[in-house]
């Protein structure tokens, strides 16, 4: 009797591995959760692109909003920008971080393409980007009404991935 049970062990092992591998199929292998999930936005002092004034983390909005890292040097940001404009028109609050960019180029960009941002802060050296654990641009963080980071999206926001991101925005 015991012998019979042992004979079925390879089948059991095969099924277990099959279930495990199947559950991992189709997952984005590059998706990496942010280390800041559940934490407040790190403190910062940055210069506003529009007004040249110093802005700190105390000046961030209260409600849920998106924190979007972009730069004129970043090809995917060109693709993302029209969609951000649509989001802004539908009333989504977006704070822009002009990441490792030049002021003049950024101002031109917003004049030509429209400005979806409530506020744009310049992170010319990328220090705030480091504090947020950014690996490139575009990268978008969802900040909830408590001021905590709840989600991070690497790459451009588009109509396909927006429903997922929207789900975290509350």
């Amino acid at each position: 009797m015991m012998r019979r049970v042992v004979l079925f062990l390879p089948l059991v092992a095969f099924l277990a591995l099959g279930v495990m591998f199947y559950s991992q199929l189709g997952k984005d292998v590059n998706a990496m959760p942010s280390a800041l999930i559940g934490q407040k936005v790190p403190s910062f002092t940055l210069v506003s692109l529009e007004s040249d004034e110093l802005v700190t983390h105390d000046n961030l909005p209260n409600g849920p909003y998106l924190l979007n890292f972009w730069g004129t040097w970043c090809p995917a940001c060109h693709i993302e920008h029209p969609f951000l404009n649509i989001l802004a028109q539908s009333g989504i609050a977006i704070i822009g971080i002009d990441y490792k960019d030049q002021k003049i180029l950024a101002q031109q960009w917003l004049q030509e393409k429209g400005n979806p941002y409530q506020q744009v802060l310049m992170d010319e050296l990328g220090h705030f980007g480091l504090d947020m654990g950014v690996t490139g641009a575009p990268e978008t963080f969802v900040i909830d009404s408590q001021g905590s980071v709840v989600y991070r999206h690497q790459g451009a926001i588009n109509a396909q991935n927006w429903p997922i991101i929207r789900g975290y925005l509350r």
Partner: protein, 133 residues
Amino acid sequence: MSLVFLLWACFSVLPVAAEQHMTFRSELHQTRYQSLVAELRCPKCQNQNLADSESSIALDLRQQVHFMIEEGKTDQEVVDYMVARYGTFVLYRPPHSSATFLLWYGPFILLAIGLITFFVVVITNRKRKGQPR
């Protein structure tokens, strides 16, 4: 022959070029820098360490490591700084925790199961041989 040497010279210079502007206060600082950038994983390019990657974030992080070492921070403080921002992902040697338990001890558990099975089979076979048919 000279062509081979030329090629060798070109490629051996490449990794140094990015770090040329870096000066260290002591040999020890330089050694610590090199071991840290070899030990930390590039968050953008998953199969490279900070030392090997040419991505702009790796360049920034190398500069940050350099800055922190020259500022007098310990190796642990540099590692903690990276983990706080990029998660344990950046460690090539992940910490021992419940999530990494199988990663660290799984092979030993499998080895133990294998050894137990081996001895059980050997002992039962011996017993059977001892019995008269």
